[in-house]
């Protein structure tokens, strides 16, 4: 076919590790046509990144042992170094995931973009001394010209005031700007194909929406094909024409985005779609996929998903699985035919055992009732400011900048409810949590727990400390690597003086509650998966029967299927133990599923607080609206609404008046002058001059 730009045929990429051979990619075949946007989807460990890196010849230290890759009719797998360099300079570019690591910290962004342009424009031999800017070998005017063009590119990818930023070093830019600079480097060679490896995963929702919009525009204007690698089906639905679903190094299913989302044929695709929170009603259990991803070093036969598949037959486990093409260009499925064609509605999913109630109990008394009991936690005008003047000269000059991490927050948490705290990174969510747990002390204002004002950890009595449990975000640092699971969970019990047998019994009970087996009591953290570590952290947090658990992004580091199981565990615990949760997250789809009430934070202030369905269905604050619009929708046809313009101002110099005004579509002159009050609106409140409810609102 003439229009085929990239074709991969039966690709096998392997890694030699200490633990044995890792078969990262096992027989992947796929194509990308000119001007097409293709999504490559899979959970971590599915081999999607290795596939992408193999395409540009960056699979090292892995090795392509079988199969072929053709890019613009050049066989990448057999290409010489020179051919490969030309391909990278002309035909294909790559955008990598983490914007904090993909730019070279010691060169300014202009240099890095200019270099990419130069590589593209001058196919001749690249001379080291010229690239090092050594005067006799390198022409200053030529570099200056490339820098000028770098500024144009920066403008194209949406970096504001590019002429000022061209000399900036990567660390001086925000995450979103860095990622845009990364895109500029990729686009500098005017490629036919851009491979973007999780380009928006590390970014905030609103930034993600802006960047995806750029990709779509660029694709429409230039006809550049895009291979988008992601774990997020929402992102796929947003911009992809076609989807390739990978699992354990193999392609499970391919097809047009619409067909995949609405009529998935492969059991894995179905299961993956079903455990997304946005597909499930609030307050009902999330379906899950039992079992775990096979060890990448294990020998295997048959379909890799068979051990977790409810339709699996003996043939699936032992025999070669055929790839079946669907009629009418509707893609292909790698599955034993009988499985997917027989029925469209699968039997009841394994994730919803009958023993437990189908719907997790939301607290019976909805918050907002007039006769509410006294809350567990009350924040009254709480602020946390940090002084930034650290050096003697700054102090001498009285140049006393303060960073307002949390500013004038009023909030309460009732017994048994889940209060979700949402906002983009750096908005002060975690600081607010630390004020409640006692890791930080408020600059002004009062924190009350059970009606008693409390200070930091050192000032709190044992009863207050045991009343609040904490689960942190990062599975790698939340457990002491040198303690066993048993000791970790037993530590709070020990600190209140429980003896050994009593501790052992309690630890056993807790392990059972969070769904871990007794054998895991003697494991060390490095022997556990991310999901298991979070379960241990939860067990530790509830060990002393707290009435509130602070969950700081507890599922953000986990894959969708693992995330669903953990959210179910949290729901069960809440129902059984009458826990209140402060659930901190940037992921609104998760929040919508778990929250009873939602508090939205921006630049240290609460923008809107209200019951979850109310906030999600009828947001009153313009910032909440913008956040909701930025969520990638799973409906293939819908497109994101207008996303927020500009970047978040620094919390050191917030705008006058309303902090949101310089990005607010509704802002007027009044907003710059007066800081709006919190306005009560029915069961919720919002901090905006124009906060109104829809006409339909009572």
């Amino acid at each position: 076919m003439d229009s085929t730009l990239l074709s991969i045929d039966n690709l096998h990429t392997q890694f030699q590790t200490r633990n044995g051979l890792v078969r990262a990619v096992e027989g992947v075949s796929m194509t990308v046509d000119q001007g097409e946007i293709v999504g490559l989807v899979g959970e971590s460990g599915s081999g999607k990144s290795v596939t992408a890196r193999s395409i540009v010849g960056l699979q090292d230290p892995g090795e392509i042992v079988r199969g072929s890759i053709h890019l613009d009719d050049v066989a990448v797998t057999d290409a010489t170094d020179r051919q490969l360099r030309r391909l990278r300079g002309d035909t294909v570019s790559m955008v990598f995931q983490d914007p904090t690591e993909t730019l070279n910290p010691v060169f300014d962004v202009g240099e890095q973009i200019a270099e990419s342009i130069k590589v593209h424009e001058e196919p001749g031999p690249q001379r080291l001394l010229e690239y090092l800017h050594l005067p006799p070998f390198s022409s200053r005017s030529e570099w200056r010209e490339y820098r000028e063009r770098a500024i144009d590119l920066m403008e194209q990818v949406g970096i504001a005031s590019p002429a000022d930023r061209v000399d900036a070093y990567p660390h001086e830019l925000s995450g979103g700007q860095r990622q845009r600079a990364g895109v500029a480097i990729a686009l500098a060679s005017d490629p036919d194909l851009v491979i973007a490896d999780e380009p928006t995963t590390a970014l905030d929702a609103t930034t993600q929406a802006q960047l995806l919009e750029r990709f779509r525009q660029y694709n429409a204007e230039r006809g550049t094909a895009i291979l988008l690698i992601t774990h997020d089906l929402g992102v796929v639905a947003e911009i992809c024409d076609r989807v390739v679903v990978m699992y354990a190094g193999e392609v499970m299913e391919t097809g047009p985005t619409e067909r995949i989302l609405e009529d998935p044929r492969h059991p894995y695709t179905k299961a993956l779609l079903e455990c997304l929170p946005q597909r499930v009603d609030r307050e009902s259990r999330l379906p899950t996929i039992d079992g775990s991803v096979p060890e990448p070093t294990a020998d295997r036969a048959g379909c890799p998903f068979a051990p977790r598949c409810e339709y699996a037959t003996a043939a699936c486990r032992d025999e070669e699985v055929p790839t079946v093409a669907l009629a009418d260009d509707r893609g292909s499925v790698t599955c034993v035919e009988s499985n997917w064609s027989e029925s469209d509605t699968p039997p009841s999913r394994t994730g919803a055992p009958g023993a437990r109630s189908e719907s997790t109990a939301a607290p019976e008394s909805a918050p907002g009732d007039s006769d509410r009991p006294s809350p567990i936690v009350e924040l009254e005008g709480v602020s946390r400011h940090y002084s930034l003047a650290s050096g003697p000269i700054e102090r001498l000059l009285g140049d006393d900048d303060t960073l307002r991490a949390v500013d004038g927050v009023d909030l309460e948490i009732q017994a048994g409810e889940t209060l979700a705290l949402v906002g983009e990174s750096g908005c002060g969510k975690s600081t607010l949590a630390s004020l409640i747990t006692g890791l930080e002390r408020p600059t002004t204002g009062t924190v009350r727990i059970d009606g008693t004002p409390v200070g930091s950890v050192a000032d709190r009595d044992a009863a207050t400390l045991t009343d609040v449990g904490v689960v942190f975000q990062d599975p790698h640092s939340s457990l002491n690597p040198r303690l066993t699971v048993e000791r970790t969970i037993g530590e709070p019990l020990r600190s209140v003086g429980w003896n050994r047998p009593r501790r052992t019994d309690r630890v056993r009970e807790l392990l059972d509650r969070v769904g871990l087996s007794e054998q895991q009591a003697t494991s060390y953290p490095h022997e556990l998966s991310g999901g298991q570590i979070q379960r241990v952290a939860i067990a530790r947090a509830i060990a002393l029967d707290p009435s509130l658990v602070v969950l700081d992004e507890p599922v953000s580091a986990l894959d969708a299927s693992v995330q669903a199981r953990l959210l179910n565990v949290l729901a069960d615990l809440q129902a059984d133990l009458d826990l209140a949760y402060l659930f901190i997250s940037h992921d609104l789809t998760v929040v919508e599923h778990v929250a009873d009430r939602v508090a939205v934070m921006y630049l240290g202030e609460l923008m809107e607080v209200g019951p979850a369905d109310r906030v999600f269905d009828r947001p009153t604050h313009p910032y909440t609206k913008a956040l909701l619009e930025a969520i990638p929708s799973l409906e293939p046809d819908s497109s994101t609404g207008t996303s927020l313009e500009g970047t978040r101002p620094s919390p050191v110099e917030p705008p006058s008046g309303c902090v949101f005004r310089d990005r607010c579509p509704m802002a007027e002159t009044d907003c710059a002058e007066t800081d709006p009050d919190q306005r009560r609106l029915g069961p919720g409140r919002a901090k905006c001059h124009f906060a109104t409810t829809d006409a339909s609102d009572p």
Binding site: S44, V468, F472, S477, L479, R482
Partner: protein, 302 residues
């Protein structure tokens, strides 16, 4: 009592299982260099412990008839200018060198770790003062200061030990402090604080164990450095005095016979080098296993 004992046994068994099955141990033995290091250090230790039993001659007995004999079966490394057996002297020297190295390293380690832990954990003014003290110690090139201290105290092995101990603790203090500071910020320590675990227990249970790996690595490498330093000071004439069979002193005497009796200077030279090499190899291997910052986890690409 019996319950406690059983618990202890169970704990030890668990530890042993963790060590035996751990990837770390396997990784350590997978690298031949690490094994060579271990073998050298083990051999040296055996030589130091059983030296007097193995040694064919008394290290100080002179035999002026057989002066400056080249290596033969009777004298595998020849004899020196006074007819003493070089091999026997080397064996006795191993005991001296290793003993001094261990003693000096232990003093440095205990002193440095205590100061570092205190500075990192207490913070504030105490931290500031202790760290300035560390800075002052590190402002002197170690051997120069040791030389001056040993020289003023008077030439003897004991004084060399003292001098070397005084000038080497600061790097431990720095290492422990920075490790404590970074561990203190990790989430599991915060979690422990929030659960009301006492400060004392946090220091013992959470901070120290996560610091110990890098310290062991440093100490292992340090054993080699101390051996070099002792030999260097003795070479200059500040340490062991003749007829003590000390490697540096032997090398120093041997230099007068460089042309005629090459083995005199080169036997102790090679002994020093092999020993230090052994500790360096072992330290490298331990670093891979114990130091989480340098621990290269298996890359699991997605």
């Amino acid at each position: 009592m019996i319950g406690r004992f059983e618990a202890l046994v169970a704990g030890l068994r668990r530890r042993y299982r963790a060590v035996r099955t751990s990837r770390a141990t396997a990784a350590f033995f997978a690298n031949p260099l690490n094994v060579i290091g271990l073998v050298i250090v083990a051999t040296l230790t055996i030589a130091a412990v059983f030296g007097p039993v193995i040694a064919p001659y008394d290290p100080t007995s002179q035999d002026l008839v057989n002066r400056l004999q080249p290596p033969t079966l009777a004298h595998p490394m020849g004899t020196d200018q006074l007819g003493r057996d070089v091999f026997s002297r080397l064996l006795y020297g191993a005991r001296l060198s290793l003993g001094i190295a261990v003693a000096v390293t232990v003093i440095r380690l205990v002193l440095g770790t205590a100061i570092g832990l205190l500075a990192g954990y207490a913070g504030g003014l105490i931290d500031e003062l202790l760290m300035r003290l560390v800075d002052v110690q590190l402002a002197f090139p170690g051997l120069v200061l040791a030389l001056v201290v040993a020289g003023i105290l008077g030439p003897s092995l004991r004084n060399v030990m003292l001098a070397l101990a005084v000038v080497g603790w600061a790097s431990y203090a720095r290492l422990v402090r920075s490790s404590v500071l970074s561990t203190k910020e990790r989430e599991f320590v915060q979690a422990a604080r929030l659960m009301g675990v006492s400060r004392h227990r946090i220091a013992i249970r959470h901070l120290l164990p996560n610091t110990i790996g890098p310290i062991i690595v440093l100490a292992t490498m340090n054993l080699g450095t101390v051996i070099l330093g002792t030999a260097g000071l003795s070479f200059i004439g500040l340490g062991a005095q003749p007829p003590t069979p000390e490697w540096g002193t032997m090398l120093s005497t041997g230099r007068h016979h460089l042309r005629g009796a090459w083995w005199l200077a080169n036997a102790p030279g090679a002994a020093i080098m092999l020993t230090v090499l052994g500790f360096n190899l072992l330290g490298d291997g331990l670093r891979d296993v114990l130091d989480p910052n340098h621990d290269t986890p298996l890359e699991k690409p997605t």
